[in-house]
């Protein structure tokens, strides 16, 4: 902790030294410092059918700063997506993740890109966490060629094959059994990887979840079912929809862990723990206690079924970015100004990506007909019918 000693001694020094220390901070290699730091999670884990992991999480200044930057990027990206949607540049449906960033970030920190992730339609930030770029995000949102699904998916359908992101799925709960299939393949190939299948508290009441759970437990699959509990399934509060909103316990025979999903370090610890558990013993449920600031989708103002006070209360007390900001400042890993500068940079990156995405062309009209089937295998008949059907405009 040489660095923090240095900075604390400098903070004791006189005002005259201040400009000097500031410039010193600006040039120190803060983001590469890998000195280990141990930080307590905000609240203890609550476990079901397993021993909870330790509250003390190992991290580094570098990791904390990268958490900050990435979450600030996600936050800014989602706010920009909101404006783009309102400007009618984003069509289709759009579900924003702001408030839940710590889940995407913490999960990535606890696992590797060889592990697989599959999620529902609130997928922008999970994609970014898997190494996706802002350009791919905004291009996809606007249905452009440079999008991660070549403009054919839109907001709900982001994918990134090279880092095991099996994407955004539109139907509530439908991705969970798929995740178990991925885990089965992983177990079979014995490559010590796992699948994180994410779903919301709304989807937790779908029958498919329980079918998937049984299969995963029966065959000891390395599947971690992550319930991102943001407390509202669309417009219905969890307690109105679930007899037991203790989602981590709902696997019965499957161990579970309740995690503060607003604390990126707790999420990291839990995911690491779950991965180890899953490789040895089979599936596990992680319930991430989190919160979405936006409504369910763009047509939901998000204020009819909860109070504004509730939202601002969470922002003030539990915000995942503010938590990391406070940690960074408390450990003197960066100054407030440096963090503000990071936010400014992020803002610019987002704006630049949007500008670039706007330049990206729309997919070719022929893309309407591609990827419906694999060519060959007799599907030419259908393609021919299609062309016959719309033949006149191609002829003209």
């Amino acid at each position: 902790m040489a660095l923090s000693k240095l900075s604390s001694s400098s903070s004791l020094s006189t005002n005259i030294l201040k400009p000097l220390t500031n410039s010193f901070f600006l040039h120190r290699p803060i983001s590469t410092d890998t000195t280990p730091l141990t930080i307590e999670t905000s609240v203890p884990f609550t476990s079901h059918q397993c021993e909870a992991p330790s509250r003390s999480v190992e991290t580094t200044p570098k990791e904390l700063l990268s958490f900050f930057r990435q979450m600030a990027t996600m936050r800014r990206m989602e706010i920009a997506a909101d404006s783009l949607y309102k400007a009618k540049l984003v069509r289709g449906f759009c579900h924003l993740y702001d408030g839940q960033e710590a889940v995407a970030i913490g999960m990535e920190a606890g696992i590797t890109k060889k592990d697989s992730i599959i999620t529902a339609y609130r997928d922008h930030c999970t994609f970014l966490g898997r190494g996706g770029t802002l350009l791919e995000v905004f291009s996809e949102l606007m249905g452009r060629k440079d999008g991660c699904s070549h403009g054919k998916g839109g907001s709900m359908h982001f994918y990134k094959k090279d880092s095991g992101f099996y994407g955004g799925h539109g139907i509530v709960g439908a991705q969970i059994p798929l995740g178990c299939g991925l885990a089965f393949a992983q177990k079979y190939s014995k490559d010590e990887t796992v699948t994180f299948a994410l779903y919301g508290d709304g989807a937790a009441n779908q029958g498919q979840l329980f079918e998937a759970l049984n299969i995963a437990a029966l065959w000891d699959l390395p599947a971690i079912l992550v319930c991102e509990n943001n407390h509202y399934g669309m417009g219905t509060a969890e307690w109105r929809a679930a007899k037991s909103p203790s989602y981590y316990k709902r696997g019965d025979y499957v161990p579970g862990l309740k995690v503060d999903g607003m604390d990126a370090l707790a999420v990291k610890q839990a995911c690491k723990f779950a991965k180890e558990h899953a490789l040895k013993n089979g599936p596990m449920i992680l319930e991430m206690d989190t919160y979405r600031y936006h409504g369910h989708s763009m047509s939901d103002p998000g204020s009819t079924y909860r109070t504004r006070d509730e939202i601002s209360g969470v922002r003030q007390e539990r915000d995942p970015i503010e938590r990391i900001r406070k940690l960074i400042l408390a450990h003197d890993l960066a100054t407030e100004k440096e963090l503000k500068d990071i936010e400014k940079e992020v803002r610019k990156e987002v704006d630049d990506a949007i500008a670039k995405a706007k330049e990206s062309p729309m997919p070719e009209p022929s893309e309407l007909f591609t990827n419906v089937y694999v060519k060959g295998y007799g599907v030419e008949v259908i393609v021919n019918t299609l062309y016959q059907y719309i033949g006149f405009f191609f002829a003209s």
């Binding site: 069509r91 669309m234 939901d300």
Partner: protein
């Protein structure tokens, strides 16, 4: 059906178009008794029908995802306040559970009105609808059903918004009606306008058979017309000629009718007289009305948003060919959605637009298969 409150007004609406605009004529020509109409959009008309359904039958229930606070399309606004949370309530997000629950509720002699938030989400409930609801009566030798022996018996109605809205993307735009039209034991009904929606929905709710009622979400706010305020029903399985013509018959349902209506107007400018039929009930459908029209015109065009292959247009085409083969002067034409998943950015290309439906040339040259006006794609 003779109950004073439940009056069929279907025959009266065999006038000109009442698709997307107010049809004062119809209201005026009502055979008295029915109160004055009020200008309503489609979701308000649905809302009114649900109010009436709950009011006229204490054993009627409305439930689904988020319906307690009005639903995402505001169709159930005010119902929970008026009739209480034990009759109008939110369910968890579990479509299979919702429909299964509704079947059980109906089997005990209640009117179950279940909402599936989008027709695209109906597939988890497909098994319950196809294997449970549709066959309950048949396989139990009429001991059990999710309806009853007559129109005064309660029944099961599944409501779901369907169709394109211009920017819905893959999972908020589909038209899955054809899947359900393959299931004997079910009825499938799709209204074209507020007035139709109210009358047809009340008929569906009071029908002793399980009904899937698809609502054109494009028209929820868009379509406004005068709707009688009182309790009325429109007959099921009765198609309606909403525009008379002599050169070609156009058959459609739901939101597509407003597109076809425009195509009819364009064709008229070219000197082609179109007869437009709203099928309203897809199964069991009114073959006689369509047949009579095709016998008169000698040509048939069917249009729907769902993909052309295996769409309900194919069934109409086959049936009419069987009945009118020697009378047809041109092959039956289908102007439908393309055989692709519902696209995101290419929705305008996918859609059976009026330019595709105009088929002006094909009417003049009977042998031509089906002409598309190409402007939609050229732009």
């Amino acid at each position: 059906m003779a109950s004073g409150l439940r009056r069929f007004v279907g025959s009266l609406s065999r006038r000109n178009l009442s698709t997307a605009c107010a049809n004062k004529q119809l209201i005026q020509q009502h055979d008295g008794g029915v109160g004055s109409g009020k200008s309503l959009n489609l979701y308000s008309a649905i809302n009114q029908a649900l109010h009436i359904a709950l009011e006229t039958d204490p054993r009627a229930y409305v439930f689904g995802e988020d319906v307690g606070f009005g639903g995402v399309f505001r169709c159930t606004t005010g119902l929970a306040d008026r009739f209480g949370k034990s009759r109008v309530f939110n369910t968890p997000l579990c479509e299979q559970g919702i429909v299964g629950f509704a079947i059980g509720l109906a089997a005990m002699g209640n009117r179950a009105i279940a909402e599936i938030q989008f027709a695209d989400y109906i597939f988890p409930a497909f098994d319950q609808i196809v294997n449970e609801a549709a066959k309950f009566r048949y396989r139990s030798g009429n001991q059990f059903n999710c309806g009853g022996p007559s129109c005064d018996s309660p029944g099961l109605t599944v409501r779901a918004p369907y169709g394109a809205v211009g920017h819905g993307g893959h999972y908020h735009s589909q038209s899955p009606e054809a899947f359900f039209c393959h299931v004997p034991g079910l009825k499938v009904v799709i209204p074209r306008s507020p007035q139709q929606a109210k009358g047809l929905l009340l008929s569906c709710i009071r029908d002793p058979n399980p009904v899937v009622f698809f609502e054109p979400k494009w028209l929820y706010r868009f379509s406004v017309e005068e709707v009688p305020e009182d309790d009325y029903m429109l007959p099921l399985s009765e198609a309606e000629v909403i525009r008379e013509g002599s050169d070609i018959t156009l058959v459609g349902w739901g939101a597509q009718l407003s597109i076809m209506e425009q195509a009819c107007l364009d064709a008229e400018k070219e000197g082609i007289s179109c007869e437009l039929i709203d099928l309203k009930t897809l199964i069991p459908w009114d073959k006689e009305t369509v047949e009579a029209s095709v016998r008169k015109t000698g040509r048939l065009l069917i249009s729907h948003e769902a993909p052309v292959t295996g769409g309900f247009g194919a069934e109409i085409s086959a049936s009419i060919l069987e009945r009118c083969f020697l009378r047809l002067e041109a092959p039956v034409a289908r102007v439908c959605g393309l055989d692709t998943p519902f696209p995101l950015v290419f929705e305008p290309f996918y859609m059976p637009t009026k330019n595709k439906a105009s088929c002006l040339e094909s009417f003049k040259v009977p042998t031509q298969h089906c002409c598309m006006n190409l402007t939609a794609h050229g732009s």
